[in-house]
Amino acid sequence: MNPAPSVIIFTVLSGLGFGYLAWLCAGLATPAGIGAFLAFGAGYALAAGGLLASTFHLGQPKRAWRAFTQWRSSWLSREAWVSVAALLAVAPVALGALAGKEPGLWGLVAAALCLGTVLCTSMIYAQLATVPRWNHPLVPVTFQLFALAGGAILLPLPLVAAVLGVVLAGVLAIGFRIGDARFAGAGSTLATATGLGRIGAPRVFEQPHTGGNYLTREMIHVVGRRHAARLRRIAVAGVVLPALILPLLPSVAGVALALCAHLVGAFAARWLFFAEAEHVVGLYYGRR
């Protein structure tokens, strides 16, 4: 799949923002006064900024409001609803924190909605049987862990962030391994795609068009996989490094460094998430 920068930036930043807001609302370490203003401001900026970035890849951004209508069947529509609900639900918690109040029970509701937004985002991908690598329960688990680990670094909750970083690194490594076998496991081949398997072994003789088209650009994007092995190591190292940095450097600089490492890992992992995903339509073109 095409690793479109707008979608990568959106999923990483909004995931981080909603993860951060979820921790803030959960009440484990809620800042007060000006600290609360900065913290919730940053959370809102990341979450809402990411959502805004996601509209850049739409063909008709001015009709984006229509995405609220089909929540009964569409995860993208559910994401629209839950994200707006989360951003609204966080507001009273943020205002309360400014006045020095604890988030309380409502904070947990807001936190659940924040994580629910990340779940909806991940389900947009995980629901697609056409992209076997995405069509797996580890995908929503990975998205949740990215949000929670990144948010815990920002809060900061050094111990929680360290544990989540290690778990996330493990899940990423397992996810790469499982993902590699998904396409073959799904069972779609050129033989099933064309139905010509009943005669013999088919192969592409001639392409239907000499140039590229929307399908080849969007879904048969093979260029991005060139450095896959290296990017996998960067992704795993990036998310596990905060577990070393945070205990060794218990300062603002440590948090900043840990966040940088986490984001490098997150962007590498999210790039690979798209670049390595193979769509079954590639079978018709003899390339995935």
Partner: protein
């Protein structure tokens, strides 16, 4: 409404005969031609006369080589377009309700004025049936020429999809695949028509007819009887004599 209807009154679709398709791409051209002036925005091209031309098409013709267990390989031309699936995954993922499946005839359509061009339906389609138009920013797909098949301004013989109407070899058929007595349903039954990627459980309406079995080449030459000549008369005497001299 992007929830799928529980049933459709008819199941209009195409039956494509892989035995007779010669891969001329006339259906591609006819489709592009009709849909430049019919339902929705035209199918745009980018850099049409330049070095890197690209454009939106609703129908593409692939060519495959199939090697059977025994005998020579076969070339099979393979038109690919929307299959108007009964469990169309492109419809349920649509966040705006722009994608829908019609109850009256089962055609899967895009309401272009509600499409935000997110591209998720194209991701959900296994068959590459949907292409986002780069000019209009909305999703384009086969409409089964919904603006032809019910169009009473057209002569009756033209009230079928442009690809079917134009096919010079009669490799494309249009009809109601929900009616077991329709011509297309009988054709599918007689020729053992099949669906594409059944493992993804999209339940396509369109069917493909497999190439017929090719005659096996006989090892004995057709000229064999002519080669087995018996000499007679003078030639027979000469043949005997020369044989003895041997």
């Amino acid at each position: 409404m992007t929830r799928l209807p529980s049933h459709t009154d008819r199941k209009l679709g195409l039956v494509i005969d892989l035995d007779t398709c010669v891969g001329c791409h006339a259906c591609v051209t006819a489709c592009k031609g009709w849909n430049d002036q019919g339902y929705g925005v035209p199918l745009s091209d980018q850099d049409a006369y330049g070095a890197d031309p690209s454009g939106t098409f609703l129908n593409r013709v692939h060519s495959y080589e199939v090697q059977p267990q025994e005998g020579a390989a076969q070339i099979i031309n393979f038109p690919r377009s929307c299959l108007h699936c009964e469990d169309a995954p492109c419809v349920t993922v649509c966040p705006t309700g722009a994608s829908y499946k019609r109850v009256e005839d089962g055609i899967v359509l895009v309401n272009e004025s509600a499409c935000i061009g997110c591209g998720l339906c194209a991701w959900a389609c296994p068959y590459g049936a949907r292409e986002l138009d780069a000019e209009a920013g909305v999703m384009k797909k086969c409409t089964l020429c919904v603006d032809r098949i019910y169009n009473e301004n057209l002569p009756e013989e033209d009230r079928e999809p442009a690809c079917v109407r134009t096919c010079p070899t009669g490799a494309r058929h249009f009809g109601d695949l929900g009616d077991p007595d329709s011509d297309v349903s009988r054709l599918v039954a007689a020729r053992e028509g099949f669906a594409l990627m059944p493992e993804l459980r999209t339940r396509p309406v369109n069917r493909y007819l497999p190439p017929r079995r090719k005659d096996a080449r006989e090892d004995v030459s057709l000229l064999a009887p002519l080669l087995d000549l018996e000499a007679r008369g003078f030639a027979a005497w000469l043949d005997r004599m020369l044989g003895k001299m041997g």
